[in-house]
């Protein structure tokens, strides 16, 4: 029966992550973007919240919560509100733990999951996107060929968060069975971390290009099955992160518009500005509800591809419009790097491109 209220437990998680985002993440967002590094202490504090460990089964050292897409969406929105780059870093281990937990064999789970239940932040990641025109997840150019009782991976990947430090990289590739993912441990011969990328946004989190040249992995490295639920989890995560970024920008612009005076009143008292803020608020709520609906369908075990794709595309358009409006409301000041709105616009632009950068 229709209900728009998270459970008490979900609300507790949401509140905890929200205060962490407000008191820790947001404060270092600018400095992290300028320097290209995220403070170790912050990463460690976030790890101690247990977001990654909580969804790993108890037998492998986690706390065994069933991965809920709705809970994940709540977490993503709050972290995205704090800072998108930092959110992507903190959630990167989910890119390996969630697929292995949901689709992996017991052996794969034993091999991978305990790595991410320790006392210290441990990087894990996935390689989904490819640096080429016309990239699409359902038509990958990275190929896995069966050979000598294993697979040989060939191709190029980009936008791989934390690739240089990750213990495992989940490489998505096209095989004879269609879309597959392969667990590739760091240091596997044939896997080359090419270079740290330089992008318009996401400057704080290290993302890399990868080259796979005859990279040989055993048969047991292959995760196969129906990937659409996992891809939909990723779409929900991206949509929820976009809602967080947009909410950050709209709140900032709202507060600025109440402070900034022109022609004798606060600019927020002018309809031209007030209406922009109202539309931003409506679109943010609308996108959140579309995202929750897709997440709910996933949690119900229903096919959610249509809902997840609609939510993700809607979110990508929305966050661009909202962050652009935020820069516009601040006027010239919005263009200066003293304010965060330009950072949110740069980060927000990426959502139409991003695929598989986070997963709930």
């Amino acid at each position: 029966m229709i209900n728009f209220q998270p459970t008490e437990e979900q609300q507790l998680i949401r509140d905890t992550v929200a205060s962490f985002a407000r008191e820790q993440v947001r404060l270092v967002a600018r400095e992290a973007d300028e320097s290209g590094t995220i403070p170790e202490t912050l990463i460690q504090q976030a790890w101690e919240l247990g977001l990654v460990q909580s969804t790993i089964p108890e037998v492998f050292g986690g706390t065994g919560e069933k991965p809920s897409a709705i809970t994940g969406a709540l977490v993503c929105e709050e972290l995205g509100w704090g800072d998108l780059s930092i959110a992507l870093l903190l959630l990167a281990p989910w890119l390996i733990t969630q697929p292995v937990t949901i689709l992996g064999t017991e052996e794969q789970q034993r091999q991978v999951l305990p790595t991410y239940t320790g006392q210290e932040f441990t990087a894990g990641t996935a390689a989904v996107m490819e640096p080429r025109f016309g990239f699409a997840i359902n038509a990958l150019a990275t190929i896995a060929t069966g050979q000598n009782g294993g697979f040989v991976l060939n191709g190029a990947k980009c936008f791989v968060p934390l690739a240089a430090d990750a213990r495992h990289i989940l490489v998505y590739a096209r095989s004879d069975d269609g879309l597959s993912a392969f667990i590739v441990p760091q240091g596997t011969p044939g896997l080359t971390i090419v270079e740290r990328e330089k992008n318009m946004g996401l400057k704080a989190v290290a993302t890399y290009e990868l080259a796979l040249n005859n990279c040989l992995v055993p048969l047991a490295a292959q995760i196969h099955g129906d990937f659409s639920p996992l891809l939909n989890r990723s779409r929900v995560a991206m949509a929820a992160l976009a809602v967080g970024v947009a909410r950050a920008a709209s709140e900032y612009a709202r507060d600025y518009a109440k402070e900034r005076h022109a022609f004798g009143t606060a600019i927020a008292q002018k309809q031209a500005i007030a209406f922009m803020l109202a539309e931003m608020a409506i679109e943010i709520d609308a996108t959140r509800l579309l995202t929750w609906e897709a997440a709910w369908k996933i949690d119900q075990g229903q096919v959610a591809t249509r809902e997840a794709c609609l939510a993700k595309n809607y979110a990508a358009n929305m966050v661009l419009k909202v962050t652009d409006n935020a820069v516009q409301i601040l006027g010239g000041h919005g263009y200066i790097r003293d304010h965060l709105v330009e950072l949110w616009l740069r980060n927000g632009r990426g959502f139409a491109t991003f695929e598989g950068l986070a997963m709930v």
Binding site: M1, I2, N3, F4, Q5, P6, T7, Q10, I70, G134, F135, A136, I137, N138, S228, L231, R254, A257, K258, A268, Q269, Q271, A274, F275, L277, A278, E279, A281, I282, D285, A286, T287, L289, L290, W292, E293, A295, W296, K297, T305, R306, C309, L310, A311, N313, Y314, A316, A352, E355
Partner: protein
């Protein structure tokens, strides 16, 4: 727990209403668009018998929902049913004999005696209509500027003034044993605080229907101009206290009616929009056009992009509307959320139906199909029950914490 499923009862009702809309409204939809001002009397009787006491806003519950402890599904069910009926035909939906917006006001602000006197009639006898008269030739959204006066004279109030754009005004005032709720000022100098709502029974001397408008769309529904000339009504026919307080609480009370009705009006919009989306989808299926949802936006065809945008916009409006209704059912104040839903739905359905006409090309523009009608019907949703802009203003005030003086 977050949940997007309707209860089995609501789902059943939805299926039932949808079948009724498809089998009884669609077949006469074009006819009563072309023959504006003619009434489908047989259909009215059928709807009256099938739905009396069910669809109208005011009959079945004796108390306003706000502040009530026990959650219900009443408002949610109303918006779900309204969507189905408006999917059938928004003009016909608006003309269904029931207590309507006037009933909503009596239900929300009336005394038990008033509810008994004016609402029970909607459960018996011949088809009846209730209506609400707010707008005047000189004021619309700025309802505090109302000039219609109510002057006390012994045991009566005497109303004088002109009202326009009164939905079902003709049927409520002259063609049935209905009533009209009329907004008037008892003290012009008091501004908003002086605005009160009065119940004027059908055929009350001094109330005349001066004109029935010709419209762009929703032509099956009559939109009347009512003139009040020394129209005398009983003292007991005022909704709420006659006292003019310094504060604007009374006015706010009347305005609160909109928190309940805006989600309903938003669901009219959604019904019209869904009619268009469903139709385009049927044509796509027939033409072998598939929507590749999981393809990156940069690689979608224009048709796919447009269609996905229509679907998402409509669903976004629907979820905002369901949220606003759900909040009412749970006794939460939904002023912000009701306006969000209405602003989004009105705009979304205007865009969705206009795009649908474009996607179908010459077929979309032709009166042989209903698409062009839906586009005309859709536009009213961006205007009535608070224009898009008025709803944006309300949203803006709420998120900025401004009063109507601070942001006007």
């Amino acid at each position: 727990m977050i949940d997007f499923s309707l209860s089995p009862e609501t789902e059943n009702m939805r299926t039932m209403i949808h079948m009724m809309a498809e089998s009884t409204m669609r077949p006469i939809s074009r006819e009563y668009d072309e023959r504006e001002h003619e009434k489908p009397m047989d259909w009215f009787t059928m709807m009256w018998n099938a739905t009396k006491g069910m669809i109208s806003l005011g009959n079945e519950e004796k108390k306003a929902t706000i502040g009530k402890k026990k959650p219900s599904e009443r408002n949610l069910r109303t918006v779900v049913m309204t969507e189905e009926l408006s999917w059938g035909d928004a003009g016909l939906y608006l003309s269904i004999p029931n207590a309507g917006l006037g009933g909503a006001a009596v239900s929300a602000a009336g005394t038990p005696e008033q509810r008994e006197r004016f609402l029970t009639r909607f459960n018996e006898g011949e088809p009846k209509w209730g209506a609400m008269a707010i707008t005047e030739p000189g004021c619309g959204s700025d309802s505090a500027a109302i000039t219609t006066t109510a002057v006390r004279d012994g045991d009566h109030w005497v109303l004088n003034g002109a009202k326009i754009f009164c939905t079902s005004g003709l049927m409520a005032a002259e063609k049935s044993e209905g009533f009209v709720v009329v907004w008037a000022t008892v003290d012009k100098s008091a501004g908003r605080a002086g605005i009160k709502a009065f119940i004027v029974d059908h055929h009350t001397p001094g109330m005349t229907v001066a004109k029935v408008e010709n419209k762009l769309g929703i032509r099956a529904s009559d939109t009347a101009m009512l003139i009040f000339e020394d129209c005398r009504i009983l003292l007991d026919n005022i909704l709420g206290s006659p006292e003019v307080k310094q504060s604007t609480e009374g006015f706010k009370g009347v305005m609160a009616t909109f928190d309940a009705t805006r989600p309903i009006v938003a669901s009219i919009a959604i019904g019209v929009g869904r009619a268009a989306v469903d139709f385009v989808q049927e044509v796509f299926v027939k033409e072998g056009i598939t929507i590749r949802y999981d393809t990156p936006p940069s690689q979608l065809t224009t048709r796919e992009r447009d269609f996905m945008e229509m679907e998402a916009n409509l669903q976004a409006a629907r979820l905002l509307t369901w949220r606003a209704a759900w909040m009412m059912d749970h006794g939460m104040h939904n002023n912000l959320e009701a306006s969000m839903a209405k602003a989004k739905a009105g705009l979304a359905v205007t865009q969705v139906t206009q795009k649908a006409v474009e996607l179908l090309g010459p077929l979309g523009y032709s009166r042989k199909l209903l698409l062009e009608k839906w586009m005309r019907d859709a536009k009213i949703n961006d205007i009535f029950e608070g224009t898009q802009q008025i709803n944006l203003l309300i949203v803006a005030r709420r998120i900025l914490g401004y009063s109507s003086q601070e942001l006007s």
